[in-house]
Amino acid sequence: MNAGPPAADGERVGGEQRDPGRPAEAEGAPAQANPDGIPSRALSIGIAVGAYAVSFGAVSVAAGLDVLQTQALSALMFTGASQFAFVGVVAAGGGLVAAVLTAWLLGLRNGLYALHMATVLSPRGRPGKRVTGLRRLGAAQFTIDESTAMAMTYEPDAEASRRAFWATGWSVFLLWNLGTLVGALGAATLSDPTVLGLDAAIPAGFLALLWPRLVDRSAWALAVVSGVLALMLAPHLRPGVPVLAGAGIAVLGALWLTRGRAS
């Protein structure tokens, strides 16, 4: 989901130390987490994320999706940054292919969380065994920033880690979808979304998602280059394509930095 107040400072995204299976939220957690607190923490994360979902529901409808399509994104795609990106590209007239690609690229990090969670969620924590079957389908759908971060908070305790993952997954899934419905229905009653400044809410949402990731010079450099390049390309390319250039710059930057470290 990549959303909400738990995204504390301290994530070392572009840095050497960063664990890609470790979302921003895990960093702010207490070192010795008490498993008794799992239900209430899961609920409070869900409430925070649900509030954010209200703004997603509203901007999605403002972007031109109907209430059902908006709800489908929250229930099926269920990863906030990608959902915001999808409707953002649609709102900018960027075309559906660019919207799908941008959303997918932003969701790639969930695949890396999955690499890690596969072992954490193994049956009774048996090393070498991995989660399978229906449980794996559910786990895949619930593998997002918040659930992964909560699971990692309790990691040394395998049982608590699994409970934290599922509790947070359910809490966020239910409240994210409820919030989306409230926002979408609310915005559907408006004739002109710009009256409420919803067009400004979209970039502010991207900014809030970007903010905790700007932790070192390479992250800032990448952000500035991607942002400026997208604006320079915008007059010459179809809407939506300049955003994808940001992904290209990121991969080039990663190649360059990895190469530099190896030598």
Binding site: M77, G93, G227, G248
Partner: protein, 101 residues
């Protein structure tokens, strides 16, 4: 719109599902670690600049930019996510209501 909604949702799910099938050792590759951290930065920053400054008429500084500027202040004050988004929307709405943007 529906095919795009469903295709994007399918890709998001399959990406996670494949993660459950691949070996965790992939996380140890430096390039994958780097790219995973940097991809969201490049994409979010490009989305931010386009959504803030681009309009069908070209480069524009309007109520959206004012809203994002207020959002920066809110983030510096460590405001929660919803407050950041609402402050930006409210700023743009008020500027337009006053006829200043």
């Amino acid at each position: 719109m529906w095919p795009a909604v469903l295709a994007a949702s399918f890709l998001a799910f399959v990406t996670k599902w494949i993660g459950y099938l691949l070996p965790e050792e992939l996380l140890e590759r430096p390039l994958i670690r780097r790219a995973a951290g940097m991809l969201p930065i490049g994409l979010l920053s490009a989305l931010l600049s386009i959504q803030t400054f681009w309009s069908p008429d070209g480069f524009t500084i309007d109520a959206r930019a004012a809203g994002v500027a207020v959002a920066v202040v809110a983030l510096l004050l460590r405001a929660p996510f919803l407050v950041v988004v609402l402050s930006a929307a409210a700023t743009a709405a008020v500027l337009r209501a006053l006829g200043w943007a």
